[in-house]
Structures are given as C-alpha cells and as structure tokens.
Symmetry: C2
Subunit: 85 residues, 2 copies
C-alpha cells in the first residue's frame, strides 16, 4: 500500500526566523497591514510504500526526525496520510 504523507518543519517558538522577518518587512511596502508573527518553514510531501499505516508513519517519523529536521532548533509535525495508487 502506498500512502502520501505531508511533514511540516518549523523553527521552534522563540527561535529567530529571518525568512519570516523578511516577509513581515515586505508587507507594508506592498500596502498590506494587519499581518503579524510570520513564520516560514518547510513543507515536505512524500510517498511511502509499507505494509500498514503504522509502519508507514513510523518510517516517516524517523525520516522527519533524522533527515528533514534539526531537532535542536526545529519541530516537525506529520499532517496527513492518504492512500495513493
């Protein structure tokens, strides 16, 4: 069974986020107001072939923890898993 997962990797709360800051600084120059606390992270999508959803999710957690994120400065969360053909 193949499943498509989404993994979100964001800097931990309190960590400086230069990309988010750059977006915030650009907003007023575009004429927009009322937008604050911008954070920019990574969104990873991947397809997993595994016997069960539990096995697939365990593999995605390993990959997210050891390859996609830096656990010292980033948190990750797994958003969804849907079957694909």
């Amino acid at each position: 069974m193949r499943r498509r997962f989404e993994v979100v990797v964001m800097l931990k709360p309190g960590m400086a986020d230069p990309q988010g800051r750059a977006v915030e600084d650009a907003l007023p120059t575009m004429g927009w107001s009322g937008l604050t606390n911008v954070r920019v992270g990574k969104h990873v999508e991947l397809t997993v072939e595994a016997d069960s959803e539990d096995a697939a999710r365990a593999l995605v957690e390993q990959v997210a923890d050891r390859l996609l994120s830096n656990p010292v400065i980033e948190d990750y969360r797994i958003l969804s898993a849907e079957e694909v053909r």
Copy 2:
C-alpha cells in the same frame, strides 16, 4: 478578530525540485527504502487581524499570490484559519 493562517507553497507538478531530489538521494544512504516522489516547499504561518474571516482570507490570498509564491512555477493553498487571542 485575529486568526492564524497556514499557507503551503509548492512547486507546480512537473517542475524540477532539486531540494526534493536531494532528500530522495539521501534516503538510501541512511538505510531507508520505500520512499519516493519527495517534494519540498514552503510552509508559512501568519496572524491576520481583520473584521471577518472572509476579509482575512481575502488578504491572505493576496499575500500568498503576490508575495509568498511565484505563480509561474508555484501553486499555493491555504490550509487553516483558527481564531487566536
């Protein structure tokens, strides 16, 4: 009312994704198999102050379309909007 939105920006299907390719190439060296079709995009979170959810969402769509994404090569989608204090 303040609402927290999430915006996902991914390269359009078919566009070469060097970051996704780098992740895929690293997987076997870490001993993992069964993972394919890795795509890496941006995940943006931001807080919007607006009178209504419709007004907030319209503003987020403008920002996503004109600042956060490059519509020629990227698609965006707005994931969620929850009220915050």
